[in-house]
């Protein structure tokens, strides 16, 4: 019925789900079917808090899954840790899927028990930044927003009164708004590391806006889809050549943009200025440990090397905690941006991490979170 490598277009059969869900509700229906048919025991869903924030919850209730819909654009939370120790299906941005695989490499997640429905991601925004942007750039009251969309490089907001307004993302980002820094230089836009890679890129013609493009990445993807079809929750059809080409085109454009922005965001710092740069960046650390707590790649518990040998009583010029973490993550950081998000001192930790991790990973031709069988290079026994 469905085979690995298939490129499909599909949607939920239930009219309500199809209408409510972004792009035809396919993902919601697939997740619901996985729970309903016992493929998994739980589903990670986003509980709606407000238009700008949703919080992940774990549910075993199909109705809760079906009721959970909504865009992920302004929900910059990494979901991997919610899957730890559970038999679960979950929606996943590429970085969520990466983190799931990294957790699996560290024995925290059993991939056989974890079904990952990937969602294309052009980047996400911080809720408070978004609200501020609405006021300052769009002249829209955040309370009036009912939906958002990215189309042709523009970020469009729809309001209660039925109007919509779009501004080019470039322009927003120039003004210091728009996507989070790490999303801007991210180059994994289609979650090919998930079980299914879903999204609205390549959904064209009549189906535009009411169906999801879906690439089947592996056997678990096949199981997810077949299960949902059997359950009568979704309908799929092969994607047209044109649809596939358009999806690829969008992806290429996004990846190219990411590569360009990497150079702009991770600007070169001359050798002699670097140490001062890092000293300045870390100077305001208050040792809260939130960046460790939130890191979806790190599998350590509360006590670990970064904390055990870091003490407030030491008068070090640089933080032992950060040095250990910079190294610890240099082979495995996926630049998901969580650490920057939660830093109370606004230290751009993700950017600092990336400055170490990106060259280290490129040198070793290794991308974390893509293949569970690839050993993180720090744990190689013999230098490759």
């Amino acid at each position: 019925m469905v085979a690995v490598g298939d490129m499909l277009v599909g949607y939920a059969t239930d009219g309500g789900v199809r209408k409510r869900g972004a792009s035809g509700g396919l993902v919601t229906a697939v997740l619901a079917a996985a729970l309903e048919k016992g493929l998994v025991e739980n589903v990670v869903v986003m509980k709606h808090i407000n238009e700008f924030e949703a919080v992940p919850i774990i549910t075993d209730d199909v109705e809760v899954v079906l009721a959970s819909t909504g865009s992920l654009h302004s929900v910059p939370v990494n979901l991997a840790k919610y899957a730890v120790g559970r038999k679960v299906a979950m929606p996943a941005k590429p970085c969520d899927a990466q983190a799931v695989i990294e957790q699996a490499k560290r024995g925290m997640i059993d991939l056989d028990n974890t079904y990952v429905v990937g969602l294309n991601c052009g980047g996400s925004m911080h809720p408070v930044t978004t609200k501020k942007m609405l006021v300052e750039m769009y002249d829209i009251d955040p309370e009036d927003v009912i939906g958002e969309e990215i189309e042709k490089g523009k970020l469009i907001f729809k309001t209660k009164d039925g109007n919509e307004k779009g501004i080019a993302i470039d322009e927003l980002e120039e003004a210091g708004f728009g996507r989070r820094d790490s999303c801007r230089y991210c180059t994994i836009k289609i979650p090919v590391n998930a079980d299914l890679a879903c999204g609205n890129w390549g959904v064209i013609g009549d189906l535009a806006g009411s169906a999801t493009f879906c690439q089947v990445m592996n056997d678990k993807g096949v199981r997810l889809l077949e299960n949902a079809i059997e359950a009568g929750r979704i309908e799929v059809q092969p994607a047209s050549e044109k649809a596939i080409a358009i999806r690829e085109k969008v992806n290429t454009a996004m990846v190219n943009l990411g590569n360009t922005l990497e150079g702009k965001i991770l600007t070169e710092i001359p050798d002699e200025a670097r140490i001062q740069y890092y000293l300045d960046q870390m100077a305001n650390c208050i040792d809260c440990g939130a960046c460790k707590e939130v890191c979806p790649v790190c599998a350590c518990g509360e006590d670990s090397k970064c904390t055990m040998f870091h003490s407030l009583v030491d008068d070090y010029s640089m933080s032992m905690y950060h040095l250990v973490r910079l190294l610890h993550l240099s082979d495995s950081c996926i630049a998901c941006g969580q650490c920057s998000d939660v830093c109370p001192s606004d230290i751009p930790i993700t950017i600092l991490q990336s400055r170490f991790a990106i060259p280290a990973q490129r040198k070793r031709e290794y991308t974390p979170g893509m293949n569970v069988d690839e050993t993180p290079p720090f744990f190689e026994v013999i230098l490759k």
């Binding site: 710092i269 050798d271 002699e272 200025a273 670097r274 140490i275 001062q276 740069y277 890092y278 000293l279 090397k305 040998f309 030491d314 008068d315 070090y316 010029s317 640089m318 032992m320 040095l323 250990v324 910079l326 190294l327 240099s330 082979d331 400055r355 170490f356 060259p359 280290a360 040198k363 290079p377 720090f378 190689e380 026994v381 013999i382 230098l383």
Partner: protein, 142 residues
């Protein structure tokens, strides 16, 4: 009193079987060296955790040396190969951090290579002396 010339402080991690022996052999051969280096003995260079190196720098080391047996000679099959894997990360990291590369060295020294050990210490000390104190050295520490 003449102000004494600044001498760098170097922390050298040596493996029990080879490089520590190399340092011993340097002594037995009376190969004179600047009094800059403090040797810390571990059983295998593979025990040297990047954590120890960071701590040495943060405490005030002007240079840190990671030393072990030549590849293929490890007393524990392949400990030094693992050292090499980790060292490469450490090297990349300190380079990105902006610490001068002359401040961190990996060297394989066998127990017989006393002169090589002495030469290594002289060489690193001279280079570090030129660089001056490490930018990570805390104030008031000597």
């Amino acid at each position: 009193m003449v102000e004494k010339e600044w001498e760098p402080k170097i922390v050298a991690f040596c493996c029990n079987w080879c490089s520590y022996g190399g340092a011993d052999t340097a002594g037995m051969g009376r190969f004179q060296q600047p009094a800059s280096t403090r040797v810390i003995r571990v059983m295998c260079s593979g025990r040297i955790d990047p954590l120890h190196v960071f701590n040495a720098f943060l405490e005030g080391a002007d240079a840190v040396l990671v030393t072990g047996c030549h590849i293929g000679d490890c007393h524990y099959v392949n400990g030094n190969e693992k050292t090499e894997v980790r060292y490469k990360f450490l090297e990349d990291m300190l380079q990105q951090l902006g610490l001068e590369p002359e401040r961190l060295h990996l060297n394989w020294i066998s127990a017989s290579e006393g002169e090589r050990f002495a030469h290594f210490i002289r060489d690193v000390t001279a280079k570090v002396k030129e660089l001056g104190p490490s930018p990570l050295k805390p104030a008031g520490v000597s």
